[in-house]
Symmetry: none
Subunit: 202 residues, 4 copies
Amino acid sequence: MDRVARRSHVLDCARRVFGHKGYHATSISDIIKEAGIARGTFYLYFDAKRAIFDELLDGFFQRIDGCIQRVDPAKDTVAVMQQLIANVQRILDLLSSDQEMTRIVLHEAEGLDARFDQKLDDFYRRIVGQIEASLGLGVEMGLLRRTGMHLAALSILGAIKELMSRGPSGFENPEARHEAAVEMLRLFWAGLANPDLNRMLP
Amino acid sequence: MDRVARRSHVLDCARRVFGHKGYHATSISDIIKEAGIARGTFYLYFDAKRAIFDELLDGFFQRIDGCIQRVDPAKDTVAVMQQLIANVQRILDLLSSDQEMTRIVLHEAEGLDARFDQKLDDFYRRIVGQIEASLGLGVEMGLLRRTGMHLAALSILGAIKELMSRGPSGFENPEARHEAAVEMLRLFWAGLANPDLNRMLP
Amino acid sequence: MDRVARRSHVLDCARRVFGHKGYHATSISDIIKEAGIARGTFYLYFDAKRAIFDELLDGFFQRIDGCIQRVDPAKDTVAVMQQLIANVQRILDLLSSDQEMTRIVLHEAEGLDARFDQKLDDFYRRIVGQIEASLGLGVEMGLLRRTGMHLAALSILGAIKELMSRGPSGFENPEARHEAAVEMLRLFWAGLANPDLNRMLP
Amino acid sequence: MDRVARRSHVLDCARRVFGHKGYHATSISDIIKEAGIARGTFYLYFDAKRAIFDELLDGFFQRIDGCIQRVDPAKDTVAVMQQLIANVQRILDLLSSDQEMTRIVLHEAEGLDARFDQKLDDFYRRIVGQIEASLGLGVEMGLLRRTGMHLAALSILGAIKELMSRGPSGFENPEARHEAAVEMLRLFWAGLANPDLNRMLP
DNA sequence: AATGAATGAGTCTTCATTCAT
DNA sequence: AATGAATGAAGACTCATTCAT
């Protein structure tokens, strides 16, 4: 096994163990046992326990960033909606395809270390920024109202996080994820109100 | 200082340190240094590090539970809305008043220990259940549509969590919190769409 | 309760606890809980954990010493034997009547502390000395052979100790103890007797 | 130093320290100081303080078990006696050669822990059983009387124990040990012998 | 490159003893 | 005399990291 292959093998194993036991409960011993390498070998590839965790996080964040695509301001409202739905769905798909990292990010990655927290915070702010940008586009197109967009962006992020944490477990099914993405759009686009009553709002 | 006062003094100090450094990074030494007591004294009041953290968590959860009040199904829609806003605001007020515990629960409390995680999960499920119950009431009153209520409940929880994690920092101001509560209601009740366009939704 | 009564009450309780849990596993907390007194009160009556244990040991040793009575060199061989049997039996009786202390001395009292070990060693040497003196009397009377008396004395002590440690459990019955005393005499007498007198044994 | 050598080096050191200070008074720090290793290294070879003590005990018990050999019921009474003497002497030799473990077992090993006590008790019962079996052989051969064999077995065990605890200190000399073994046989044989055969003793 | 033995700082927890009330 | 809160030294054990082979 060459350097690169071994490196990524160890990363895989670490991800599995971290996802299973959490950061603190995972020891270097766990990782090298899973990877079938010697103690010293681990430090040949990674500087420290923190470093390998860091790297897992970075890779995961990058993949998520890749899911979000700039919305093309087509004239057709439906086409815009579809792009938004597609963005959400790509994220749900990715998270579902890497449940270990999802679990790590949602449940284990906070409160470990000031540097980790900073990185995580940066990531989330970036996500929120991108959501806000998308919403801004909708505003410009006259599709969305002008106020409360920051709160909305936070809510959308929170909704995705809760969905993955505590949502229905049938998410291995891609259609369930599509359905969820559509439902999210429906919720945030149109709200919960009975359509007939919508106009009484202040 | 009598037993009760000292006990709550130690709890306060522990909360401060946990909030600052996180559960794992906090050692008993940190707590007793902050509290100005001897090592043995700590164990006179608390069985273990876990126990004091547990107690902090329990107390906080209880206070949050106390914030949520059953909505009275008044005939007047506005009155219902006001009750919902009041619920959200009470929660925001509490969380703002105890930022250390808020930080602990949001950022540090997961992934510590199977028991803690269970407790936290139970708490969140309870909250989601209460939100769903409130929404169900709205459905029965004909105010809200019938579908997607679970996703909505998760989103509302997620929204509050993100708001406290990453929301505007001006939350020491009670009016800012009131404003946020109103805005949340507006968002979830009516959605983001430009009111004129609402009816084009599928 | 006056000073003296309380003191001996605490001693009793300590004996019970030490006998039950052993010296190291017994904490001051155990003792004061059993005695129903406060922590500080314990130290009003005893200097330290060691001190109360010491005192228990001393009292017990004294009582055992009191069991052993100088053998009167009667002309009648049978009378001598009876005195020896009576000595052994008194010891067995005492040990049976205070099983806690017996257990402590046999199983817990060694290896605690150089001073304790010294005290215990002194006690056992004294016992061995007394047994040797008795045997010496038998030698002088022409009843016993002249050699190997030290080994014999050690064996008799060892026999009693093993009997109490690992012997039949029916020792609550005084007759069983009498029987054992007689049997011990038979065993050691025949081994020690002046060969010419051996055949007079029962 | 390779793994095996280091392991047995640590065992040796631990035996020395335990023998000197007793189980409770010995800390891991004492052992590693004696062995010249780091704290963590100790735990590389042994799971816990209990574990290393356990291992010392087990090894010692095994060696003692190895000393006791089944008596061959030769026709020649003297040959039987010689075998018995040889058994006793092998035990005395072993105990003399490992005075630290002897001290530990006799003075320190009881009252430490329920599991240790059980192990020790099992060991002693096994020994007593083997002595009784030997005596039973003598009974079958018509050499010994039929009664009191359990007390006799306990006495023989007790005798050996006292001999090693409080016996003459000249036991480094193998001849002194031989002499003692012979003397023990003389004492107990005469006590146990079938009265008809008593006079054949030397 | 790979190994795995060695390290030692750091953690939680216990408990005999003291001392202010 | 009695109390019981407070003390802090000491102990067992863990584990990320280093380094000689």
